[in-house]
């Protein structure tokens, strides 16, 4: 708990705010399809909201107000305005919007909900906020640490559970799953998918790589020397899915959580390394002139 993640948490908060703003801006312009009663989508009422006797009709009628609120709060969140209260409000509104129409959601939206929940406990306002929160509090530091640990644990859980479900299916076990995945029209991101799927070497290697990487991530990520290779291969895996499977927001959100594996010390070390490199290049230029 002595390790500090203030910089990573702050950068992550800004990214999540941007992610929310972009996503719900698209939803705002397409609200006639997603939330409106006039949409061709025949809504069924969410169980949890029904339990609280929520008036779905009212929520659908005023979906533009909810969406606008999310957009404004996302901007506040990016600048650290309102701090935890903005975070809590965002969590509740995003939860309502997700429950109003669950059919348009994917795994990224599912993880986003938990990220917003855990961020409520994290001090991500030490940097990149209009009014930085610099007060040292043992309780807040502990909650903050547990919040960041929760995001990392949830990421590990997602990969691990995904892998064990995959292991239980014949086509993943026999190394041909990516052949079928590359031939699913819904997720055929490029015209190269079909050609790649016919290559036995590519299919087998990519299938097993995905399986073993997901299975091992939860264990190997905690080792100092293996952290960076695991994260780099994760970035390539998610970018591959982004390009070849047309799954966009989901992949970038998962990649963005990787920053939480770096402490303030490590980020500053990296920043100093880059700064020194640039300075030495600048000096060389000046000397040659």
């Amino acid at each position: 708990m002595n390790k500090k993640y203030h910089i990573a948490a702050s950068i992550f908060r800004v990214y999540v705010a941007f992610h929310l703003f972009k996503k719900y801006l698209f939803y705002f312009f397409n609200r006639d399809l997603i939330y409106s009663k006039k949409s061709f989508f025949n809504h069924n009422n969410d169980m949890l909201l029904s339990f609280f006797n929520v008036d779905f009709s009212l929520l659908r009628d005023y979906n533009n107000i909810i969406l606008t609120s999310v957009l404004i709060l996302s901007l506040f969140f990016a600048f650290g305005i309102g701090k935890i209260w903005t975070n809590v409000a965002l969590f509740l509104l995003v939860e309502i919007l997700q429950r109003l129409n669950g059919i348009v959601l994917n795994g990224g939206d599912n993880f986003l909900k938990f990220i917003l929940l855990y961020l409520c406990f994290i001090n991500s306002y030490r940097y990149f906020a209009l009014k930085k929160y610099t007060i040292e509090s043992k309780l807040y530091n502990m909650l903050s640490y547990l919040g960041i640990l929760s995001i990392k644990m949830h990421l590990c859980l997602i990969y691990f559970v995904s892998a064990i479900f995959k292991m239980n299916t014949k086509i993943w076990f026999s190394g041909v799953a990516n052949y079928y995945i590359f031939n699913i029209e819904r997720f055929m991101g490029t015209s190269y998918n079909t050609a790649l799927s016919k290559n036995a070497l590519f299919v087998t290697l990519s299938t097993y790589f995905t399986l073993f990487w997901e299975l091992s991530f939860s264990f190997l990520i905690w080792f100092k020397k293996l952290k960076i290779p695991m994260l780099i291969t994760g970035i390539f895996l998610h970018l591959g899915i982004y390009i070849f499977m047309m799954i966009h927001d989901f992949e970038i959100l998962f990649i963005s959580t990787y920053i939480l594996f770096f402490t303030d010390k490590q980020i500053l070390k990296f920043k100093n390394y880059i700064t020194n490199k640039l300075d030495s290049k600048q000096k060389l230029k000046v000397e040659t002139i």
Binding site: N30, V161, G189
Partner: protein
Amino acid sequence: MHLIILFIKFFIMKNIYKYIIFSCFGMYWLATFFVVLPNNPIKASLKRQVMDFGLLFEQRWSFFAPPPKTNTRLYYTFSDKENSISKTFEVMKPLLDDKRKKAPFNSRVEIVDYILNGSIIHIYDLVIDQREKLQLQYKDSTKMVIELMARDSVIKRMKDIHAFKTLIEYSKIVSAKNLAKDEVNKLGYLKIALTEIKIPKFINRNKENPNSEGLVIETTPIKLSDYE
């Protein structure tokens, strides 16, 4: 002794907030772990608690496990009021081609894709569910008979199934896009058919034209005036 007890009490009280936080943290993660694991005897014995926790913290992480082995086709057949002249349109392939062409700026098409495919998957699940129930009920019946009964049972309940209502509503968009205005006004009946095109087995991947399209479910003629 009295002092020792006092000291222990003071120490516990001072750190009680830590114990509460760590206990909550531990219980939350234990519950999360149980909810996401595959079905097992412990999860089955705590079914009610798992369901309640899952209602608040719903999550599913079995991505493409297994991946679909088929591609779906959605056919709309529009007929006039006498149910004689009809025109058929397939909507899934053009939609997905459009989704690929516009990627990564394909949000609207993607939303339509998710709504339609989500509804189709729900219908498939209903057919599978019904099939399993009928298999238990009619153990001596053949697979073909069970399949027909399952489909029939789902179609009979069509008016109460949200997924079917979604597909029927979408048909209005399809008809407006593909038919002339006077043709749309003359429409009386609609048939919806869901088919699957099998992705050939890996071993047959290089064979010419190996795809086979099979019917999953086809509705009886739906009177469009019932859904205006």
